[in-house]
């Protein structure tokens, strides 16, 4: 009983450590004043001003979606190809594919800059930014698709061929549906990694192109007058992102639970 009390208490404490900062931000996003220490009355004014950061949000979302779609296609095809190339080539490729996963983002981004420099290209461009994000996201798509390929019954593909399917049909009608959960997980991962990224964006994006990460960084770390004026607006934005995240997590998991139940009931 006492043990249970302690373990529950411990879990509660760690959760408090994780959530208290977020909750404080959420509460003070409704503060009429700009600072955290003085409550000047309840107000929605920072939410009304969210339009000011609209372009930043748009940049972030468009970039993340374009990157995630490309990374998912590139990574899924790559994973299927790698999985079926046994031998040295496949192994080497799996190894190389791990490099961006373990490498630090600064080194990844700066290596890309040096490549552009050597080729005589500009170090800051939308193409460079897109490529940078692709490098840090695609290996994670590969990582989430590969286990699903391993779990798949290898004879399914051959059965499809024996029954008269063309290789392409076998791929789209047999392999793809089997690995779809992995593909979806990879897509979600690519989206979050791109949304989350600061370093690659800060080093490769064209000047004046800000995502949420770089804009918030400017407001809190550099604390220029104009940037820190936006701080309360970012609190409101955090609140909205937090609520969106929570609802997406709940919806996805309730759906997968239901699916599990349905499949379990068969």
């Amino acid at each position: 009983m006492i043990k249970k009390f302690f373990s529950r208490g411990y879990i509660f404490l760690v959760l408090a450590f994780i959530y208290i900062p977020i909750f404080i931000l959420v509460i003070f996003s409704f503060n009429a004043g700009k600072t955290l220490n003085i409550w000047e009355g309840f107000s929605f004014k920072w939410y009304a001003n969210l339009g000011v950061v609209g372009d930043v949000v748009l940049n972030t979302v468009v970039l993340a979606v374009v990157v995630a779609v490309t990374a998912t296609i590139l990574g899924t095809l790559g994973a299927i190809g790698m999985f079926y190339s046994n031998g040295k080539g496949g192994k080497l490729m799996k190894g190389i594919s791990q490099i961006p996963v373990v490498n630090s983002e600064v080194v990844t981004a700066c290596a890309l800059i040096m490549l552009f420099l050597l080729l005589g290209l500009s170090n800051r461009s939308l193409v460079g930014l897109f490529l940078g994000h692709l490098i840090i996201t695609t290996p994670f798509v590969v990582l989430s698709v590969l286990p699903k390929l391993k779990q798949m019954d290898p004879s399914l593909y051959e059965a499809a061929l024996d029954l008269g399917a063309s290789p392409r049909q076998a791929l789209t009608k047999v392999i793809l549906p089997e690995i779809l959960p992995g593909v979806f997980a990879g897509f979600m991962l690519a989206i979050t990694l791109s949304l989350d990224d600061y370093i690659v964006t800060a080093t490769l994006s064209p000047l004046g192109f800000d995502t949420i990460s770089t804009a918030v960084y400017k407001a809190i770390a550099l604390t220029t007058e104009a940037a820190s004026m936006k701080l309360p607006i970012y609190r409101a934005l955090t609140t909205i992102i937090f609520l969106l995240t929570v609802s997406v997590v709940v919806v996805i998991n309730v759906r997968s639970k239901r699916k599990q139940k349905r499949e379990g009931g068969k």
Binding site: Y84, V107, M114, R168
Partner: protein, 282 residues
């Protein structure tokens, strides 16, 4: 599997065609990897071993290893990364252990609560912690940095630990208890050694990123100037108006970072990829 499929392929007479087809799919990704992962590594080598006029030299390394500020930043980064990894491990291990012993349905919900903040932008989370610290009067500096780093990296440690502990064969623990070992002995002799893979992949998710995570140190250092090695690299590439200030110097530090990365990988026996998925496939 290969033998079987070869047989099937010859039987249907499509051996060459479809064997070729499936492998072909990875060509775009292979080209991508060569262009943007392999070649850039050699480009780093090239710039690290040349001076700004393009001639071969060791000057960048001489400069790095004799520059007191740079060397101390490197050492401090390693120390901070170790410290943050250990703190995260000490906080996360009991969490993962308690969760792994709970009823599955409750543990699942709690785990979701722990990993949900990972989907909130990481700079926004840093902002939240920074505002809380200034609210309760913790002044900027190394202590604030450690709190900020632990705050941002804790979920990355909980997840791999939990997935290792939950996969563990509980009958081993039961057997040890039956054979007369007490609970602490079971933990030290059975549970802890079996969870080492989780500890390693958790540590990899924290140790290396902390060394380059200058966003957090910039946020929590204030005017103390406390920073990590990643900032030194970024400085070489983040000139005021988009100019590159010191490409060769940056390449040298990048190379040092790469060496540290490979040494860490060697020491830990590679990266356990199945735990690195941030909980999207919980």
């Amino acid at each position: 599997m290969t033998e079987l499929s070869t047989k099937a392929m010859t039987k249907s007479g499509k051996k060459f065609k479809f064997g070729f087809n499936r492998k072909q799919l990875c060509i775009p990704y292979a080209l991508f990897l060569v262009m943007f992962v392999v070649i850039p590594l050699f480009v780093i080598l090239y710039y690290a071993f040349t001076s700004s006029d393009g001639s071969f030299s060791f000057a960048n390394f001489a400069e790095f290893f004799t520059n007191k500020t740079k060397i101390s930043t490197l050492l401090i980064s390693i120390l901070i990364a170790l410290l943050v990894t250990v703190i995260c491990l000490l906080i996360a291990y009991p969490v993962a252990y308690i969760l792994s012993k709970m009823k599955k349905s409750i543990a699942f919900i709690l785990l979701l609560l722990f990993v949900t903040p990972m989907w909130i932008n990481f700079v926004l989370r840093a902002m939240a912690m920074k505002e809380l610290l200034s609210l309760i009067g913790v002044s900027p500096g190394s202590f604030a940095n450690i709190i900020g780093l632990v705050y941002d990296f804790l979920p990355f440690m909980i997840l791999p630990l939990y997935s290792t502990l939950i996969k563990m064969d509980t009958s081993l623990e039961e057997a040890a208890l039956d054979l007369g070992a007490n609970k602490s002995k079971v933990f030290i002799k059975i549970t802890l050694p079996l969870s080492v893979p989780g500890i390693i992949s958790g540590a990899m998710m924290v140790f290396l990123p902390v060394m380059s995570c200058y966003v957090i140190t910039d946020t929590f250092s204030g005017s103390t100037g406390f920073t990590v090695i990643g900032k030194l690299i970024a400085w070489c590439f983040l000139g005021e108006n988009g100019t590159l200030t010191n490409v060769n110097g940056g390449a040298t530090i990048s190379l040092v970072m790469l060496v540290i990365m490979f040494l860490t990988m060697l020491a830990t026996g590679g990266f356990k990829s199945d735990n690195s998925t941030r909980g999207t496939n919980l």
